[in-house]
């Protein structure tokens, strides 16, 4: 049994120090992914909190033969999507708005690369563009690019077909390249 599996088993049995250790072992990874997804500390901390609360509630459902990281990534993905949905709800009149219905695939309404390129550096432009990606593309890009996970690992973690992950990644990269070109054009015009 791995160290993580052992901790989960003990935590599920009521050992609070085991759960504490589990959190301490994985909080940096969870926070990093949450921050890359959310783009700010406030939301990243909320997401990370949600993740560990969900982990806590699901301790008895963890299969001992499964990879903890895969399990965690799936919980993180759901927490990211839930958090975005909740924040949309809090800032709008009600659930069920047209925007809410299209949330999963709609780009974020933040300034485009043209506006960002004027005052910001390229990395910031791209980071903003990542924040505008539809959620499926964003989570796949973050897992591949930032976390260095292979497509097959992402597919397993998210329960998706590898072909689907490949297309989500391609769509994300395509948009980022487009943003890069726009930013360069804009920067050139300003120079």
């Amino acid at each position: 049994m791995s160290a993580d599996a052992n901790l989960i088993s003990r935590a599920a049995g009521g050992d609070s120090s085991a759960f504490q250790t589990l959190v301490e072992r994985h909080r940096s990874m969870v926070y990093r992914v949450a921050y890359q997804f959310a783009g700010n500390h406030h939301d990243a901390e909320d997401i990370a909190q949600d993740v560990f609360i969900k982990v806590f509630r699901s301790l008895d459902r963890f299969r001992q033969d499964a990879q903890l990281t895969s399990w965690l990534y799936r919980i993180i993905m759901n927490a990211c999507i839930d958090h975005k949905r909740r924040s949309r709800f809090n800032s709008s009149a009600a659930f069920g708005d047209e925007a809410e219905q299209k949330m999963l695939n709609a780009p974020e309404e933040t300034p485009g690369p043209e506006e960002r390129a004027y005052g910001g550096e390229l990395g910031q432009v791209l980071e903003t563009e990542i924040g505008r990606l539809p959620q499926g593309q964003r989570i796949v890009f973050v897992m591949r690019h930032h976390q260095g996970m292979k497509l097959c690992e992402i597919a397993e973690a998210l329960g998706l077909a590898e072909g689907t992950v490949k297309r989500q990644l391609h769509a994300a990269v395509h948009r980022l390249r487009h943003a890069l070109r726009q930013a360069r054009v804009t920067a050139g015009e300003r120079a």
Partner: protein, 260 residues
Amino acid sequence: MTTCDRQTSGDLDLYFYDELVPSDRRAVEEHLHACSECRSALDELRVIREALASRPDVSAPASGDWSAFMMRLNASLGEQRTPTVTVVPMTTALRRPYVEYLAIAALLSLVTLSVTLALRKPQAPADAVPGVAPAVVQQVRTAPTKDVSAFRAMTEEHFERSKLVVLGLATKNAEELQSIDWTYERELATGLLNDTRLYRLAAEDRGLDKLAGVMRDLELVLLQTSMTDDKDPSSLQQIQRLIRRRDLIEKMDVVATTGL
């Protein structure tokens, strides 16, 4: 405008991320010698990687101190029934007995309200049937009484609609599936996905863990279906495996026959 097949197929991305088998990798390398468009695209990918690598790696709260994070987590977990982490903030510890009295008072109010509602003529659930998403949302999220019977009626209706989609996916022949079928299945799944997520959250809010678990499985199947397109013949088989692995149809049957 991209014109090269190596880019539209995604091969160039896979080459960049070192995801190609050696033979395909060699083929892309040979192609790069002859294709300036792909070389340019590859340069862009490198620029993106370098630009993002220059951004700070954030893996801890802004202060760099985890103690506030752990205290907040502990406070949240303190409300759960099973294990808690060891650090208990003083303010929470002092507040806890007071919170318990409030919880008992709230519970008594709920019981009183439920009895009152039960004695009245019940509201016909037709108004609450989730045919239109905003109505569902309002019903699910704004019901302050947490009336389980109304929630159950809405959930059963949602399961009935979802089960048709899941059964359709589970019984389709991947070899014979047409593009137009996929479009239809995807639209159905996308339409149900947000409602499923809402029901799952509502079930979690109400502590209906088993129902929330089934909703979570359903959500995963719908999410995968909504993100799939007709260019990948293995997609349906993947979804069908997921449905089988999660025993989704059986679980939905159990919920439908035994209630919540």
